[in-house]
Structures are given as structure tokens and as C-alpha cells.
């Protein structure tokens, strides 16, 4: 494939069927390095299924996924995490009984080196041994990652830092979403997929989240965003992709997409004036 170096993610004809329903229908997409693309569309349009296909939690029935020019179609989620793809989940899948610190440390799992030697066959046993013995290199790695987690949590102001040792199940809904994003950042992702990061957040919290995503984009992170809050989508996105019934029905800069009659019919059927309220 004649991929350009700047193309991070490239989907071709990606398709997933559930029985008679085609949840994702021949979707093409190209995401350049440092770009932020938002995927919008009514509920059930196939956005989350598309995320699952890209991150390996589901396998496509047809089509390909390329990441930095490499075919990653159908690879396991573990492999893709190691490749630098991180995601958050729509319904918030934090590890309930783990502390905030431990949740975010799991995000850094693929970056563990000292404690996880890449030796074939006996690697897992060495990992067990190193975890029990904890030589200086392992301790130093753990310490460094803990400091890093604190730095990541500090990006959320005073939302998470005071709760760093609390179990995640005791957090508010919004804070769980923040923990998810912190966990994704701990992976040092090259591609970040955010599935409705502001779901269930009030306007102040949404504005905070929008600020954070803008910051991440400013730092050069490549982001694929599913979001229902159109104002946020318009402000952040380089391009917007609209999905309906599994198909990509429009693509382009936000201003252009919002005027597309197909989009208005499928998604914004009730007119653009209500876009602020469409935050649901």
C-alpha cells in the first residue's frame, strides 16, 4: 500500500454484520498524524462497533485496518495496545475494586520493561520471579510510573488527585470517565480513541473535558472522537465524519458537514438551532 508517512490510521471497506443487521457498512477513513476526527451520528449508527473493530475487540467481516502502514486487521486487543492504540469505553469500564492510582497504572502496562523481560517461553516465569524479588530496576520503574500517573492525574486539576487511593467504584460517574482517559494517556498512545468522553457530564465538566482534549491535540496526539455534543465537535475537529445505519454518509470540515442535507435529514432532523440541547 502506498501509505503516506503522515497517515496514522486507514480503514478500507470495513464491514461488520450482526445477523441481518450491518452495523458497520463498508466504511473508509483516513486519519493523518496529529489530526482529530470526530465521528457523529444517531444512536445505533455503528460508531462504537467501528471503535471495537479498530481496537481488536471485534473482528470485521470484510475490509482492512492499517495503522502506520501496517495491516492490523483482526489483531488482538493486547497486540494493538502494545502498538500504541488506546481507547476509552462508552459505558465507562474502570476496574471497580482498583484504586485510581492502580487503574491508571494498568494503562502503563504495555510500557513495563524492567519487570517484563521480552524473553520467549520463560518470559512469564521471569516476570513472576521479578515481581516477587523486585530488584532495584523494577522498583525504579514502578516509582517512575507512579510519578507519571500523578502528573497525568494533575491534568484533571483537583478532580482525581485527592481520590488517588480510593477504589474506582466509589467515584462519581464523571470521575470514572476521567480515570478512563487518564488510563488511556498512561499508555502514551500514538492513537487515542475517545468514546463519548463527556457523556453524563454537566456543562462545566464538559468544558473542562473539551479543554483537555484540545490540549492533547495541541500536543500532537492523533485522536478519533465519538461525541454527541456538537459544539465540542465543531470546536475540536479537523474533520467530521457522519455515520448513519452503519454507513459513512458525510465527511468534511464541521461547517460543511453541518450544512449537508443528508446529515440534516439523518441526524440533525430537528434543525440546527437546537444543537446546544442535543447534548444528551
Amino acid at each position: 500500500m502506498a501509505e503516506q508517512h503522515t497517515t496514522m490510521l486507514s480503514l478500507r471497506g470495513l464491514t461488520r454484520r450482526f445477523g441481518g443487521l450491518t452495523a458497520v457498512d463498508a466504511v473508509d477513513l483516513d486519519l493523518a498524524k496529529g489530526e482529530l476526527i470526530s465521528i457523529i451520528g444517531p444512536n445505533g449508527a455503528g460508531k462504537t462497533t467501528l471503535f471495537n473493530l479498530v481496537t481488536g475487540l471485534d473482528r470485521p467481516d470484510a475490509g482492512t485496518v492499517h495503522f502506520e502502514g501496517q495491516d492490523i486487521t483482526g489483531l488482538s486487543p493486547e497486540r494493538l495496545a502494545a502498538e500504541g492504540i488506546a481507547r476509552t469505553f462508552q459505558l465507562g469500564r474502570v476496574f471497580g475494586n482498583l484504586s485510581v492510582m492502580d487503574n491508571v497504572l494498568i494503562g502503563a502496562h504495555t510500557r513495563l520493561r524492567a519487570v517484563k523481560p521480552a524473553v520467549p517461553l520463560i518470559g512469564p516465569l521471569l516476570e513472576l520471579g521479578l515481581a516477587l524479588l523486585r530488584p532495584a530496576s523494577v522498583k525504579a520503574e514502578e516509582e517512575r510510573l507512579r510519578e507519571e500517573v500523578k502528573a497525568i492525574l494533575a491534568r484533571f486539576g483537583e478532580r482525581l488527585l485527592p481520590r488517588i487511593d480510593q477504589p474506582a467504584y466509589s467515584l462519581s460517574y464523571a470521575n470514572r470517565r476521567r480515570v478512563e482517559i487518564a488510563r488511556a494517556l498512561a499508555l502514551k498512545p500514538r492513537l487515542l480513541l475517545l468514546d463519548e468522553p463527556t457523556a453524563g457530564m454537566n456543562p462545566t465538566e464538559t468544558a473542562e473535558m473539551q479543554g483537555l482534549v484540545a490540549e492533547l491535540k495541541g500536543e500532537g496526539l492523533t485522536i478519533l472522537l465519538i461525541e454527541h455534543k456538537l459544539e465540542m465537535v465543531m470546536r475540536l475537529s479537523d474533520r467530521v465524519i457522519v455515520m448513519d445505519e452503519g454507513k459513512k454518509i458525510a465527511e468534511g470540515p464541521g461547517e460543511q458537514v453541518r450544512k449537508d442535507p443528508k446529515v440534516i435529514e439523518a441526524y440533525l432532523g430537528h434543525g440546527l438551532t437546537t444543537e446546544q440541547e442535543s447534548a444528551a
Partner: protein, 607 residues
């Protein structure tokens, strides 16, 4: 040729009996996503009620069947109302554990009422055989086939044409939607438990008549066979359960024909493991369908563990360490030695069931592997006992992990079923692999514990030895939990999908948990072998697996201190209260039920 027809008929008849159990399991799984481990106990109750009716009341056959069905249904309704309904909103693990507890309580009650000795249950039908083709068939065969077919037809009519039957099917498809449409889900549950219990009870009666013998060991076997048939047919799939049962009956019958009677169960459990691994949704489900299982994360009760100050632990360890210096009786030491051995097993199980969330019901198999390895190493190869025990631990870690690995891709209740089956397989292999394990005779004359050439024969030295080994294992496990592995294990337990998305390989970490846990269990089994000096395939049985699970839940899942506390409590308290041995398992069952109902997070909380 003719004998093949006989084996086929026998297989179909036995399959019919399994079907009566399996259909009940499928109905219950359908509406409440629960594998009812108490189904075999109801079958047992049915058999004994049948015995009372036939032998003492001399009821005619139709009345016997009606009586058994009604009484069993009543037991089913009681289980549903008082055992399971209070748990409707609790964690997913609660009803599973409750049915295990109920099963132990029912079995023990039957055993205490009727004594554990087998009884003859005479068939009330004339003993004649009809020739068909090259084989023969008796009136009892026809009765079993008739009851099976009639029940299937009645059930079909009920589910298809009655209003309550519609409600059952609606609830099975989508419980929440059914509730919103005004279906009384409690009534549906009642109906399903009543029907399942009636079928199970009648099945027990028929099996008792078929073999002309009933005993209390029937219960677990029936549950296991029913679960195998149900899972083979696809959990929750009622017609699938019937076909699965017939298939299981045939596989067993042909297996017996070729290899002999002692292989009967081995075939059943191998069939289960093969189906679970290749087609976890049963033979009739489409391959890519999501399994009808609870998502993880809700499986274990969230709680804040009780923090015990370090000095309290140090003081407690110190007290137990110097205990033999005080004038305590050998009886107390003996009891505590048992507690330390159980503590090691509980450490192993709390890591596997609690920390990484794989609720194993076959953990005694790891004891057995460790015990046999250590015994054979010291007997056959004259390996010093201390090294042999470590060898037992390593063998348990390696072989146990390899055997359990087929269950790594399963989730939730399926893990429990698979580990239960794998545990049974280990015990059956020990029974049948005579050239190595000496088969049913067992291994006797195992050398006593010794260390660096000194025999440990005094209770004090055995006490110290087992205590020190347990403390070392506990410290190691504590250290493990504090490492990135502890964090990774718990993440996999809480949400395996999110864990995978962050690069945690389930196979790798489940293996590591079983390797570590297998070592502790194997060491415990190894020490036990040298203490007992005689072991056989029944020394380490399912009751011990369940006892260990009760200990672990009592202490708090994943909780290292809790596992030891639970072991001391469950071994010690019956001694303190001088409870007779035959009541102990009853007490354990009741403890399990009370815990699940009132303190699912255990004494010290889930870690």
C-alpha cells in the same frame, strides 16, 4: 451386534434420565442465568421420597410418581423463595454460591435422616424383558422413556400455549423487557423452579428404580451430569438440553462398552471440557454469538478491605509461633495443623478465585496432584521428603495450570463448571491410571515428614513445620499482590475486556495465577500425604474444594489474612463447640448460605 443395540438402548434410557435433570437446569438458566448446583440434591430428595413411598407407604406406581413430583416441586419452591429470591439484587456470584450451599445442606439433611448407607429402591414393575431386534427392553425402560417423552410434551405445551409459559419464554429472552411489560418475574422464577424440581425429583426416583439402589453420593453426580448435558446442548436451550442428554447417555454407554465401567464419568467430563473449549455456547449455538454470561466487574462484591495494622499481624504470628511452648494439648496442635494445611489451600484458592476471579470448584485436584507427586517421589525415587514436597508443589503448578488452561477462555459460571469437571477428571485419572497411581488401592506407607534427615514425628515439630510453610507462602503471596502482577490480576477480574484493551494477556496472567496458586496447593497436598501416610483417589474430593471455597469467602475473596483467618475459624470452631463430624458439612453449608446472604464480602473484605 446385539450387544450394541443393548448399549444404544441403555444409552438412550440413561440419556432420558439426564434429560429430566438437564431440562430443569436449562429452564432455570434461561430465566435467571444461573447454573443451579442444587439440582442434584433435589434429585436425591426425590429418590428418598420415592423410597419412603414405595417401601414404607406401599403406594402404587402412579401415585409414587405424583407424590415425588409434588414433594420435589415444594422443595424447589422453598429454595427459590428463601434461598435465591433475597439475592436478586446482589452480585452475580451470590446465587451460584447459594445453590452450592443449599446443595450441601440438602445432601447432609438427607444423609442425617436416612444414614449414608445405600438403600434398595425396588422397581414396582414386573421384571420381564421383551426381545426387540437383537436386544432386550424391560418395562422400566419403557416407563423411563414414557416419562421423558410425556414431560417433554407437557413442557412444550406449557411453554407454547399457557400464559405463564409465555411469560417464562419472555423472561428468558429479556428479563428487563419482560418486567417492564408487566410480567411477574418472581412468579416466573417460582414456576421454573417448581417444574425443574419436579422433573429432577422424578428423575431421581426413576434412576433409583433403574439401578435398584439409592445413596447420598447420587446428588453431586446428578448435578454434574445434568450440567454436562445442559452445557453440551447450550446453556438455557431446553430442546438442546434434551439432545445433549441423549448424546451424553450414548457417549457414556459406548465408552463403557469399549473401555469398562470405571471410565463412564471420564467420558462425560471430557465431553464437557471439549464442548466448553470448542463451542462454549453449546453444540447448537452459532459460533460468533456472544455467550449468555454476565459481564465481569459485577461478579464479585465490591468492598473496602478491613485494614489490619502490621503489629497485630506480627503479634498474632508470634503467639501462634510460640504456642507449643505453652501447655496446650496435642489435640489443639493437631487441630491447628489441619488449619494450617487448609490455610495453604485457601491461600491458593483466594488468589485464583478472589484475586483473578476464576471461581474454581475443583481445587482439591491440585492437592491431589501435589500429594501423589510427593508420595511417589519419596517412595519410588527415594527423594528426601522436603524436596519431594517442593516437587509436589512444582508439579501441581505445572500440571494443574496445564489442565485448567482450557478454561482460561471461559467466563463467570462456566469457569466454575469447567474447573469442577477438570477436578473430577483428575480424580478419575488417578483411579484408572493404575501403573502410576496404583489405582483404587491407593498409596500406603508414605514416609513421614522429614527435614535434612531428621524425621518430624512429634506434633510440635509438625506444627512448626506446617505453620512456617504457611507463613512463608502467605508472605510471598502478599508480596505478589503488592507487585504489578497483583494489580494486573485484579484488573482482569474486574473487567477482562478493558484489561485486554490495555495489553493484559488473559492466558499469561491466568497461567501465572494458577502457577503460583498451584504451588501453594501442591505443597499443602504434599505435606498432607506424608502426614496421612496413606492416600487414594478419594482423599482429596469435591467436599474439600467446597470447604476451601467457603473458607475463602468467609475471609474475603483475594484476602491473604482472611484466607488464614477463615481456615482457623472453619477448622477451629467446630472443635471448640465439639460438633460431631457428621454435622460439620451441614454447618459449612449453612455458613456459606449466611455469608452469601448477609456478608458477601466476607469478614475482612474483598481485596
Amino acid at each position: 451386534m446385539s450387544s450394541w443395540l443393548d448399549y444404544t438402548i441403555n444409552g438412550l434410557i440413561v440419556g432420558n434420565v439426564y434429560a429430566l435433570v438437564a431440562v430443569g437446569l436449562a429452564l432455570i438458566f434461561g430465566v435467571s442465568r444461573l447454573i443451579n448446583f442444587a439440582q442434584g440434591s433435589i434429585y436425591l430428595v426425590g429418590a428418598y421420597i420415592g423410597w419412603v413411598a414405595v417401601v414404607q407407604l406401599h403406594t402404587p406406581l402412579p401415585l409414587t410418581i405424583i407424590l415425588v413430583a409434588a414433594a420435589a416441586a415444594l422443595v424447589g419452591l422453598i429454595i427459590e423463595r428463601f434461598g435465591l429470591r433475597p439475592l436478586q439484587n446482589s452480585v452475580r456470584i451470590a446465587p451460584l454460591l447459594a445453590t452450592i450451599g443449599i446443595s450441601f445442606v440438602l445432601d447432609q439433611l438427607v444423609m442425617l435422616t436416612f444414614s449414608p448407607n445405600p438403600r434398595a429402591l425396588p422397581s414396582q414393575l414386573p421384571d420381564v424383558r421383551f426381545q426387540i431386534g437383537g436386544g432386550t427392553i424391560g418395562p422400566l425402560d419403557l416407563l423411563i422413556a414414557g416419562v421423558g417423552i410425556t414431560s417433554a410434551l407437557l413442557l412444550f405445551v406449557f411453554l407454547r400455549y399457557s400464559k405463564l409459559g409465555w411469560a417464562v419464554r419472555a423472561t428468558a429472552q429479556d428479563r428487563d423487557a419482560a418486567m417492564q411489560m408487566g410480567v411477574d418475574v418472581n412468579r416466573v422464577n417460582q414456576a421454573v423452579f417448581g417444574i425443574a424440581a419436579a422433573l429432577g425429583g422424578v428423575s431421581g426416583l426413576l434412576v433409583g428404580m433403574y439401578y435398584n439402589q439409592i445413596d447420598t453420593a447420587m446428588s453431586l453426580q446428578a448435578t454434574l451430569k445434568g450440567v454436562v448435558a445442559e452445557v453440551v446442548g447450550g446453556a438455557g436451550n431446553v430442546p438442546g438440553a434434551v439432545i445433549g442428554s441423549l448424546l451424553l447417555g450414548l457417549v457414556e454407554s459406548y465408552g463403557v462398552a469399549v473401555f469398562g465401567t470405571s471410565y463412564r464419568n471420564l467420558f462425560a467430563f471430557l465431553l464437557l471440557v471439549v464442548v466448553l473449549v470448542l463451542r462454549p455456547n453449546g453444540l447448537f449455538a452459532s459460533a460468533r454469538q456472544a455467550p449468555p454470561e454476565p459481564l465481569t466487574g459485577t461478579f464479585i462484591a465490591p468492598s473496602r478491605p478491613v485494614r489490619i495494622p502490621r503489629w497485630v499481624l506480627l503479634v498474632a504470628t508470634g503467639i501462634f509461633a510460640v504456642l507449643p511452648f505453652f501447655p496446650v494439648s496435642f489435640y489443639v496442635l493437631q487441630t491447628l495443623i489441619n488449619a494450617w494445611l487448609l490455610g495453604m489451600l485457601a491461600l491458593s484458592l483466594t488468589l485464583v478465585a478472589g484475586t483473578i476471579g476464576q471461581v474454581s470448584l475443583g481445587h482439591a485436584a491440585l492437592l491431589a496432584i501435589g500429594a501423589y507427586t510427593s508420595a511417589l517421589l519419596s517412595l519410588t525415587f527415594a527423594v528426601p521428603v522436603g524436596l519431594a514436597i517442593i516437587g509436589g508443589g512444582l508439579m501441581s503448578a505445572a500440571l494443574g495450570t496445564a489442565l485448567i488452561s482450557p478454561s482460561f477462555r471461559l467466563r463467570g459460571h462456566y469457569v466454575s463448571i469447567a474447573t469442577l469437571a477438570i477436578g473430577e477428571i483428575v480424580s478419575l485419572v488417578i483411579l484408572n491410571w493404575e501403573s502410576v497411581t496404583r489405582g483404587p488401592i491407593g498409596i500406603s506407607g508414605i514416609p513421614p515428614l522429614s527435614l535434612f534427615g531428621y524425621e518430624l514425628v512429634s506434633p510440635i515439630s509438625i506444627y512448626w513445620f506446617s505453620f512456617i510453610v504457611m507463613v512463608v507462602l502467605a508472605l510471598l503471596q502478599g508480596r505478589l499482590l503488592g507487585s504489578h502482577l497483583g494489580r494486573s490480576f485484579r484488573a482482569i477480574r474486574d473487567d477482562d475486556i478493558a484489561a485486554r484493551a490495555y495489553g493484559l494477556s488473559l492466558n499469561r496472567y491466568k497461567s501465572l495465577a494458577f502457577i503460583f496458586g498451584g504451588f501453594a496447593a501442591g505443597v499443602s497436598g504434599g505435606i498432607a500425604a506424608h502426614l496421612y501416610s496413606y492416600i487414594n483417589h478419594e482423599t482429596f474430593n469435591t467436599q474439600q474444594s467446597i470447604l476451601a471455597l467457603t473458607v475463602v469467602i468467609l475471609g474475603g475473596l483475594g484476602n491473604v489474612v482472611g484466607a488464614i483467618l477463615g481456615a482457623v475459624a472453619l477448622v477451629g470452631l467446630p472443635e471448640v463447640f465439639r460438633i460431631a463430624a457428621e454435622y460439620r458439612i451441614l454447618i459449612y453449608g449453612i455458613v456459606l448460605l449466611l455469608l452469601v446472604r448477609f456478608r458477601p464480602q466476607g469478614l475482612l473484605g474483598t481485596m
